[in-house]
Symmetry: C2
């Protein structure tokens, strides 16, 4: 045994943690590696936080996070008893894995998807099976009808960006009536249609969202889930056996305010969608294969240059993008859709990198 | 099977969550039930948060929480690699249970202690054994030398308030060399001496603290642990398999600022200690048995009146205190030391309740 691990539990010894994208300490990079929003959150968020700071930080927050849950309920037209909240959608997902996806039969998810899923499985001892995406990197819901202990899919999928329609989600929930289907909608607001309305008619459907992307609040750590109150009750039991107060007072106030500003939300996401389309065109013209994306990132593969080379050359020039050294996708880069200016800089930098003059010696 | 639990995991079905003290929605109560600080946090906290709000909430926080860990390291004279941080000490404890206290042999903790401990055990399938306090409700460290998979003790103990000395902790860590000893110091700053300096010489000692009590930041959700870097590494693995960003940007900034203001910290804790001594005297003179307390609460039993009656009568009069309907302590009330004024109101209200005129009909 490794002496360093002498006091560790078997669980701790068996873990290979998720590695998030780099968060550089200095501001000298253009960050297109962690799918943050290039625009600031609603000014209402800052106002709400400023009001809350002046209040009672010495007192515990509302453990029910009522203000925020009410905002979710109001925003999506669902009952408050159908809303769960947590410290970012990662925490919400973690609780869902333990409360709803841990069963004798294996959990199913795509072979190419959010790489945190197998990490949760290792943490909680959940058996799982991956289901291959199609050749074109799409999810085919029919492939998830094998006996299972649950299904989890990001929609749009990460890191590919490919989208499922509400009809496909509806079909899936109907055809796996004995297990829970979790739809992880971290990126849904950039071009997809949420499955939240479907939760009213499927007792086994849980939809998870985050305020980190389309609401521009990655720094505030707020996520939520919507589903049948019986599913929510299981999540609450696990949450209340872990940490009674996952959202601090400022996060509750800021998150509720963010959901109230529909106009700001629509403005910034439209802008990102427009930039994505322009960026996709630009990258195509530079020789990249660009998967169709309904997210705030593009998943691209250059027809000639290796992904690792491009990753390194972009980094040298101050631009961070994300690379996953994993089967099927090791030649792809995931590029966050930044501001118009950042997209322009990315394209012109790539143009320089890809220019024949830069070629010799590689 | 309960149809409502159809989709739940075995884990979710087996849980009886921790129930935190009531957080009333209106301000009409004097809250002496959840051990919050009656005084506001350092003004530096508010300044740091205001600065951070004006920054980049759209960007993820530093997943290493470097600013806060550095503040802990500096404050206690320990290396940054010996510091772990989380969303309140409850989250830190949860990770410690899974990473360091889950073994074949049972975990040991007192029969009367923080009631979240058995809840974590149920969540993670950890076997445990309780060790009775003495007749006088004290922890005797010699009682923890039986074969075990770990030991966890609050110091001072909750809800009793009784204190162990660093020598006793030192003895315990030395005499249980094969398992981890976790000291939960949520209340240490109100009269105890921290075991943090002992972590330098015991590879199996982990000390957990919170900013919720002595730093007056229950609303910000920040806790930390100090121990050998090998213990911290196990916690980091579990944390990074659960949620990469447990502290939001505002919590990191605010918590670091709180630790920097030593003068404010000393002033408010001295004031609470002084109030505690006065309150203990006042309660004794009203016929209460008052356990010796090194915390910001008193654990008291009236010689004649049932705890439940007093609890209800105080509530009617707008004062919340905490009662635990559990073996050995069902006749006790746990009363948070409030401001001087709140303590005065409590005493005068109890005087009325206990007056003979109030007696008939009970």
């Amino acid at each position: 045994m490794d002496e360093r691990q002498r006091y560790w539990s078997e669980t701790a010894r068996g873990l290979t943690p998720y590695v998030p994208g780099e968060q550089p300490k200095t501001g000298r990079f253009i960050k297109l590696n962690t799918n943050e929003n290039p625009y600031p959150p609603s000014p209402r968020v800052l106002e709400a936080i400023a009001r809350e700071v002046a209040g009672s930080l010495r007192l515990y927050p509302d453990p029910e996070m009522g203000l925020f849950k009410a905002a979710v309920a109001e925003n999506f037209g669902v009952p408050v008893s159908g809303v769960f909240a947590g410290n970012g959608s990662d925490e919400v997902l973690a609780h869902a894995f333990l409360a709803l996806l841990k069963h004798d039969r294996p959990l199913l998810f795509p072979d190419v998807t959010y790489s945190f899923y197998p990490v949760y499985c290792a943490l909680y001892g959940i058996s799982y099976q991956t289901v291959p995406l199609t050749e074109g990197f799409a999810i085919r819901v029919e492939d998830y009808r094998t006996p299972n202990g649950g299904v989890i899919l990001p929609n749009p999928n990460a890191p590919t960006g490919c989208l499922l329609s509400p009809d496909e989600i509806d079909w899936l929930a109907r055809n796996t009536p004995d297990s829970v289907v979790v739809i992880d909608e971290a990126y849904i607001d950039f071009g997809g249609e949420s499955a939240i309305p479907l939760t009213a008619r499927h007792k086994n459907l849980l939809v998870v969202q985050t305020l980190s992307k389309s609401r521009a609040l990655a720094g505030l750590r707020v996520g939520f889930a919507v589903g049948d109150p019986d599913l929510i009750e299981a999540l609450e039991r696990v949450r209340n056996s872990f940490n009674s107060y996952p959202l601090d007072r400022l996060a509750i106030a800021g998150a509720a305010a963010a959901l109230s500003d529909r106009e700001h939300f629509d403005r910034i996401r439209s802008r990102i969608i427009k930039s994505r389309e322009a960026l996709a065109k630009g990258l195509s013209s530079l020789g990249f294969e660009v998967l169709p994306s309904a997210a705030n990132f593009l998943f691209v593969r250059h027809r000639e240059r290796p992904a690792k080379t491009l990753l390194a050359k972009l980094r040298e020039r101050g631009i961070l993008v994300r690379h996953f050294d994993r089967p099927r996708i090791s030649e792809f880069l995931r590029i966050t859709v930044g501001s118009e200016e950042e997209c322009e800089t990315l394209l012109s930098t790539l143009r320089t990198i890809l220019a024949p003059a830069d070629g010799p010696g590689e």
